[in-house]
């Protein structure tokens, strides 16, 4: 079977300085994938390069065996929450409807069918009662749920989430994790940029360990090892503490 995402020899540069070197990986369908690495490791860049938002210096990206350009309809995207102006004059439902814009194409306006999709997606993230709210009245967790609902409205097979747990409350985090896991059960592949090493084993079944180059990519049980984490985080002391904590958690889980 074709891998959901395949990256060959990908190098990405910002201002003539490479930020990702020779990335080579393949992720099979139906996985919940954590993209893990220290700050500045190129996690967001990896996602943006896959989505064609950042130009590749070399290499290629394939979604189900074909270039992203031909497979856009299969991909859903949740950008970082801070990347937009939350004081923009639109309602929650307007934002979710934007997930349907790609399918609608030029000039066509969202109609009843799209509104039903939007309402269903809002229900999935538990935001139905907020549909008519202006988006500036939302908390951080609610904003994240709205972004997730918008990605759901894209009705994709592969999803890329950029730090969905940054600055959200615990209730939202667990609601999002539940939703992601149910998405995986229905055959979707979900990539999540993630920071918290302690929850990696609990949330994901596949990891991409990244630090400017690919450290490891594979199932959590085999890949999320102290050795690989050390390679990923190097000698950063505070982070090593976190790793130690993650290891303790792992021992307890056994």
């Amino acid at each position: 079977m074709l891998p959901a995402l395949e990256i060959h020899d990908m190098t990405v540069a910002y201002h003539r300085r490479p930020v990702l070197w020779d990335i080579d990986l393949a992720v099979p369908e139906g996985k919940l994938v954590g993209v893990i690495g220290p700050n500045g490791a190129g996690k967001t860049t990896l996602i943006k390069a896959v989505l064609g938002l950042t130009p590749l210096a070399s290499g290629k990206v394939e979604i189900y065996g074909r270039p992203y350009r031909q497979q856009r309809r299969l991909v859903g995207y949740v950008p970082q929450r801070e990347s937009v102006d939350w004081d923009f004059p639109v309602t929650v439902r307007d934002v979710v409807l934007m997930g349907c814009y790609g399918r609608l194409g030029w000039f066509r306006r969202p109609g009843r069918a799209e509104r039903q999709i939007a309402d269903r997606c809002l229900e999935q993230v538990g935001m139905t009662s907020f549909a008519r709210r202006q988006i500036s009245q939302l908390s951080g967790g609610q904003q994240q749920r709205v972004f997730l609902a918008r990605a759901l409205a894209e009705e994709a097979k592969i999803y890329f989430l950029d730090e969905p747990f940054a600055g959200v409350d615990a209730a939202t985090e667990s609601a999002i994790v539940n939703l992601l896991q149910s998405m995986r059960h229905s055959g979707k592949t979900v990539f999540v940029v993630h920071h918290d090493l302690q929850t990696v084993r609990e949330y994901f079944d596949y990891v991409i360990l990244l630090n400017l180059r690919l450290v490891a990519c594979g199932p959590v049980a085999e890949t999320f090892t102290p050795d690989n984490l050390h390679k990923t985080y190097g000698g950063r002391l505070t982070l090593l503490d976190e790793v130690a904590e993650a290891m303790r958690q792992r021992e307890r889980a056994r």
């Binding site: 938002l53 934007m98 202006q134």
Partner: protein, 463 residues
């Protein structure tokens, strides 16, 4: 608008110095002009100017909304200022005041400025606002120099009208201008209606739009092009210096009144048209362009004060109400806590004891006490106060709500313990029932559950 240039009588001076000009004649509707033209529309000049300014204001308001929402307000300002050298060069090359030629010149130098800013921000470490500021003043400076050179070399006569690009000459409006403005207005409206969805998406979240495959650069350019066309059409009417206000003010004003994009666009168009028309009517004997801008500014300031939700007054009222509500709750809690050892009996509490319980400002405490007496929550005996039966119930409720919040925030939400006291609201409405029940159990186990709140009067049917 060709006649715009031809109509300027040679008697008007074309000094080489801008300041000198601005003190002489700047865009006034002079009585002599009212009879200048035979008209197809049968409108008087003053009506024509009003109508033309309104059309321009409406179009500028609509396209300006996207510029403002996309945080590109300054781009419009730069575009207007940067068009001046193009106007002068176009005049020098074509040696005519043909509007088409001048507008193309304006567009070219405006676009050159935008390209320059884009390149400088991309390739160097200069930030966009600095780059815009530099390009704006450099192009404008060049424009003034060229203007003075052109007017001097032609010895006045033929270059007549170029100066109107500085502060605008709405008094020169003729029928063809009106048709042009109507056409531009209709086109802008059509484009915005057609591309509403695309503009909205790119203005809100360009990265997400690109992930869906939208050509965001082209859509962005389309938005900017609409701004550019309206700006350049507006230059002869309000002038290079003030055109940006026509783009920015209506959208900024409308944003104060609405949270919906479609309403915002309609409102910005109406506000732009209205303030332009009103500005023309108010400008008798005054320079018209600046009067329009000042009218728009007045409308903006008024909205800033009065708009519901976002206005200054609305916010003061909301804040005061919140403070008073917190004050009332705190007073009831004080009463409850001071009475707590003796409950269910209540005792007289002296004013000084109340004041010492919290850091009350005396006037606020007095005022809240008066209010509570009027509501039948407390009774007064000289300078002491006692809870009424109704007040006792309310006080118990307030105390219960507050304590549940405290426990919730410390135990369930992991917030910093010293922030807990600030926000007390009806806990029952915001938290799931299971959590509320757990909180009540915790309070009861600690012996801190205000018991009276649970006392519900017996049903009248049971009697």
């Amino acid at each position: 608008m060709i006649a715009l240039w031809a109509s300027v009588s040679d008697a008007r001076m074309f000094p080489t110095d801008v300041h000198q000009r601005s003190t002489t004649t700047t865009g006034r509707i002079t009585p002599s002009q009212t009879h200048d033209h035979s008209t197809m529309t049968g409108l008087t000049l003053s009506d024509k100017v009003t109508l033309g300014a309104a059309l321009l204001g409406g179009a500028a308001g609509v396209v300006g909304s996207f510029a403002v929402l996309r945080r590109r307000s300054l781009m419009g300002d730069m575009l207007a200022h940067a068009s001046l050298p193009g106007v002068c060069l176009a005049f020098a090359i074509t040696e005519s005041r043909n509007l088409v030629g001048l507008s193309i010149g304006a567009l070219v130098s405006g676009l050159a400025a935008i390209t320059l800013v884009t390149l400088v921000t991309r390739l160097t470490r200069t930030k966009e606002d600095a780059a815009i500021g530099i390009a704006l003043s450099a192009f404008f400076g060049l424009g003034i120099v060229l203007l003075s050179a052109v007017t001097r070399s032609r010895a006045g006569g033929n270059s007549a009208g170029l100066n109107s690009y500085l502060l605008g000459e709405p008094g020169n409006m003729v029928d063809s201008d009106l048709w042009l403005l109507s056409a531009v207005g209709a086109t802008v409206l059509g484009v915005v209606l057609l591309l509403y969805k695309e503009f909205k998406l790119v203005a809100f979240d360009p990265q997400f739009a690109r992930s869906q495959g939208w050509p965001t650069l082209a859509i962005d350019l389309g938005m900017m092009a609409a701004v550019a066309v309206v700006t350049i059409i507006g230059l002869p009417i309000v002038g290079v210096i003030l055109m940006a206000a026509m783009i920015i003010l209506p959208a900024a004003t409308a944003r104060l009144w609405t949270n919906r994009l479609n309403v915002l666009l309609a409102a910005a168009g109406a506000i732009g048209a209205g303030s332009a028309a009103l500005g023309v009517r108010l400008s008798r004997g005054l320079p018209t362009g600046p009067t329009i801008v000042l009218t728009g500014t007045a409308l903006f300031l008024l909205s800033l004060l009065l708009a519901p939700g976002r206005g200054v007054l609305a916010r003061i009222v909301a804040e005061t109400q919140l403070r008073l509500r917190i004050g009332r709750e705190n007073l009831l809690r004080s009463f409850y806590e001071l009475n707590e050892p003796a409950l269910p009996g209540t005792r007289l509490i002296a004013y000084d004891e109340l004041r010492a319980d919290r850091h009350w400002q005396p006037w606020l405490l007095r005022w809240l006490l008066e209010q509570s007496i009027r509501r039948g929550l407390i009774e007064r005996r000289r300078d002491s106060y006692q809870l009424s039966p109704l007040g006792t119930r309310r006080a118990a409720e307030a105390a219960k709500t507050h304590r549940m919040w405290e426990i919730y925030m410390m135990e369930f939400a992991g917030s910093a313990a010293d922030h807990v006291d600030r926000s007390a609201d009806t806990v029952e409405h915001l938290l799931p029932e299971g959590v509320v029940a757990a909180l009540e159990q915790r309070l009861a186990a600690e012996g801190r559950l205000p018991a009276i709140a649970a006392d519900v009067p017996a049903s009248p049917h049971a009697m």
